[in-house]
Structures are given as structure tokens and as C-alpha cells.
């Protein structure tokens, strides 16, 4: 039995620390961007999302999960109240299913419409050490960002969120807003590619299309903070409530850091458990993988029976 030196750790502890010491970078994110129009938009969304967004008002952003009736996560969405409409940003691969869900269940007497915003808007994220400073450098005129609110300045929407104790700044910008892109260039910054975002999101333990596909419960992918068990019914609520009251989560998300490439699939671990690798990314020779394993996995577990990763080194 071969044992390879691999870090298996909670994303909020080990691997994250290294990445967050890097200077903040701007990443282009492939997202699903929709705009819901109509007076009953908030109520309609509140019937669907796992978080209570009944209080969502102009200038606010609230995140939530869209789950199926088995409690599995179908999408993670950020909802921005823009006054007369709600801007909904979700995971790109779930665009079609989320839009169908949002439109199919509109009550017959409510005038709600959903527009495709991907042709007009682009989604970017800033991750790394002190992302707020980068925003301040780009837009010194902008006041300090706070959570659950967004700031709109010169047709750019900025909002602050945290995940696994990492600050993440979301930016929504019109594709034709040349001033925004000019500012980035003037400040000697550049927008990282989509492939780099994949690496960055694994580094901070943020689920992507391979984790948000109706296969995993919110607990499995570290999204339990986006469940409101006291809001009443939403799709999946019965399952989430039962998990909360009668059992404990069985799975958790982990990040593996290696110097050699991993493949998506199941790997055995030295503590007798296993890890299912769901996403992989590489940057500067460093390979990161996101996976789901038993909640009781040992923090010093190593991969076994895995010749191809024998060159791995501890980070």
C-alpha cells in the first residue's frame, strides 16, 4: 500500500491560509445573470430560496440556496434588490434549470418576468489578501463596503461577502462600461482568466458547478449558513429540518493540495475512509482539488493506492 503525502484539511484552516496571503486578484466568473421584474418578485423568490429574503429591500444583497425536494443544492444565488427589479446571480451550469424553476411556478395572477442579463452584464470577484484595498485603489470615491448591502457607483455594483472567513468582493458590471476596464488597466491590474477563478474558488472552498448539481446537501458543501430553518417551507426544508433535529451531517468538503495532477473520482484514504474528488485546478505548478469525504476524516489522512500522485509534497 503506497501512501502519498497529501494535505486533507478543512478549507477554512490550512490551504486557505496560504492562498489568502497572496495579493488580491480580480477574477472573471462565468455566472448565470438574470433580472426578475415585477412587484411580487421578492415574495416569489422567498417561496423558493432556503434563506429568508422577505426583508430584501433596495440596496440590499441576500444570498440563498435553491434546493430540490430532496434537500440537495441545485444552485447558489446572490439576490440584489435594484429597486424595480431583482438581479439574480447564480452558477453558470445551472442557468437553464434555475430559470425554469423561477418562471414555471409564477402564480397565474402575478406579473413577473425574468430577463437574461448575460448579454449585458459581467460578473467578477476579488479574492486574496485584503480585497477591499484593491477596490479602494480602483475606486477611491467608493465608501466602505458592508455585508448584505451593495454599492452602485458609475454603473458598477460592488458587494462584500465572506466564505470560510475569507472576504470576497463581487462586482457586477456592464460589458460596455469601458471606464471600469480602463481603471483596472490604469492601476496596473488585470482580470484573471476563468481557469484562474476555478483555482481561486477551490482555494477558498467555494462550491462550483461540480458540487452544486443536486447531488449534495448544503451541509456536504459547507453552505449550511445559507439555510434558515425558521423561515417556514421552502423546497428541501423538510430534509434540512430532519437533519438538524435527528441526525448529524455525514459529509464535509475538503481541499487537497498536490504537486501532481489529480483526477475526478473516488480515492481511498489512509484512515480507512475515502474522498470523492469533484473539482480540480492548477496554477503555477500547484494542483488543488476539491472533494467530499466523511465528516470524521482524520486531518492527517493521506491518499493510498495512488501511484500517479506519488510525487506529491506537503504544502
Amino acid at each position: 500500500m503506497l501512501a502519498s503525502p497529501v494535505v486533507v484539511a478543512n478549507p477554512s484552516v490550512d490551504t486557505m491560509g496560504n492562498l489568502s496571503e497572496n495579493s488580491a486578484q480580480i477574477y472573471l466568473v462565468k455566472s448565470s445573470i438574470s433580472v426578475m421584474e415585477g412587484l411580487e418578485s421578492v415574495n416569489h423568490l422567498n417561496n423558493i430560496l432556503s434563506t429568508d429574503i422577505g426583508s430584501l429591500d433596495k440596496g440590499m444583497r441576500i444570498d440563498g440556496l435553491i434546493c430540490d425536494s430532496n434537500g440537495r443544492v441545485a444552485d447558489i444565488v446572490n439576490c440584489y434588490h435594484m429597486g424595480k427589479s431583482i438581479l439574480i446571480v447564480g452558477i453558470d451550469s445551472n442557468t437553464e434549470s434555475t430559470r425554469e424553476l423561477l418562471t414555471k411556478g409564477v402564480p397565474w395572477d402575478k406579473k413577473l418576468s425574468l430577463l437574461d442579463g448575460n448579454g449585458a452584464l459581467e460578473h467578477l470577484k476579488i479574492i486574496g489578501h485584503d480585497p477591499s484595498s484593491l477596490v479602494e485603489m480602483l475606486y477611491p470615491e467608493l465608501s466602505k463596503l458592508s455585508e448584505n448591502k451593495y454599492s452602485e457607483f458609475e454603473n458598477v455594483v460592488f458587494s462584500l461577502g465572506t466564505h470560510n472567513e475569507h472576504e470576497i468582493i463581487d462586482i457586477i458590471v456592464r460589458r460596455d462600461n469601458s471606464d471600469f476596464y480602463d481603471r483596472i488597466e490604469r492601476c496596473n491590474h488585470k482580470i484573471s482568466k476563468i481557469e484562474d477563478w476555478e483555482f481561486a474558488r477551490i482555494a477558498v472552498g467555494y462550491p462550483g458547478s461540480n458540487e452544486v448539481n443536486t447531488k449534495y446537501l448544503p451541509h456536504d458543501i459547507g453552505m449550511i449558513n445559507l439555510i434558515s430553518l425558521n423561515k417556514g417551507c421552502y423546497p428541501g426544508q423538510e430534509i434540512h429540518a430532519r437533519l438538524d433535529s435527528r441526525s448529524k451531517p455525514k459529509k464535509r468538503m475538503v481541499v487537497l493540495s498536490t504537486t501532481d495532477v489529480m483526477e475526478i473520482g473516488k480515492y481511498s484514504l489512509s484512515d480507512g475512509s475515502s474522498v470523492k474528488i469533484t473539482s480540480i485546478a492548477v496554477r503555477d505548478g500547484l494542483h488543488l482539488s476539491m472533494g467530499i469525504c466523511s465528516v470524521d476524516v482524520s486531518t492527517d489522512a493521506t491518499l493510498v493506492n495512488c501511484n500517479s500522485v506519488s510525487k506529491l509534497t506537503l504544502l
Binding site: 411556478g105 402564480p107 442579463g117 417551507c233 421552502y234 423546497p235 426544508q237 423538510e238
Partner: protein, 128 residues
Amino acid sequence: MGILGGEGFSLPVVSKVNVVDVNIELTETAKAALSASMSGEEDTHVLLISAQSGGCSGYMYDMAIVEEPDNSDFQKIQFDRIRIFIHNKDSTMLNGIRVDYKDSLMGGGFQIENPNASKSCGCGQSFS
């Protein structure tokens, strides 16, 4: 102009809706309970059954006695003097339902059994 102003936004996303001729079943107890609830207003009021997003299982039922809506998108099903309206957009989801009424203190009231539902929540008000 604002971030949502200007060009580039598409026409509204429309979910494809299949319209079927709705058949429903109304039990005798449900008929009696509805007659009592409508209290002689059967000529002007109808029972409107609809479905919308929400509930534990994805979609939830809504039943209401309302003045007859002036809308040609409804299918009308008549049981003696009681008229039931179902909107075309809900026809696929609600075709074949059986409306019953249970007279009990716990969990009583109108209940819907839906042959199209792959799953229903514990309270019976939601389905998927």
C-alpha cells in the same frame, strides 16, 4: 442610466407550458363542504385551484373561492352547481387531481391527491 439600463438584456425568459384538458375528481364530502362554503353564491363565485413555486417539495397548491374571473385562460369544470377553475398554465400539473375533504380536528380540511406528483410533503400542501 444604471447598471440595468441600456441594451443587452434579452426578452423575458419563458418556460414552455403544455396545456392539457383537465379532468379532476371531487368527492361527495368535498362537494358538500364546498357547497357549505359557497353558501348560495355558486352562480357568481368559483373554486379556483392553482399551483405556484414553494412549499417543501417545489410547488404548492392554492385553493380559493373567488368571484368568477374574466379570463379566457381558465378551464372550467362543473360539478352540479359548483364550478372549478384551473388556469391553463397549471393544467399539466393539476390534471387528474382528486379533491377530498376530511372532517377531523387534526389534519382535516380539503386535501388534494395528485397522480402527477412524484413526491408530496408531510402536510400534503406541496408537491413536486
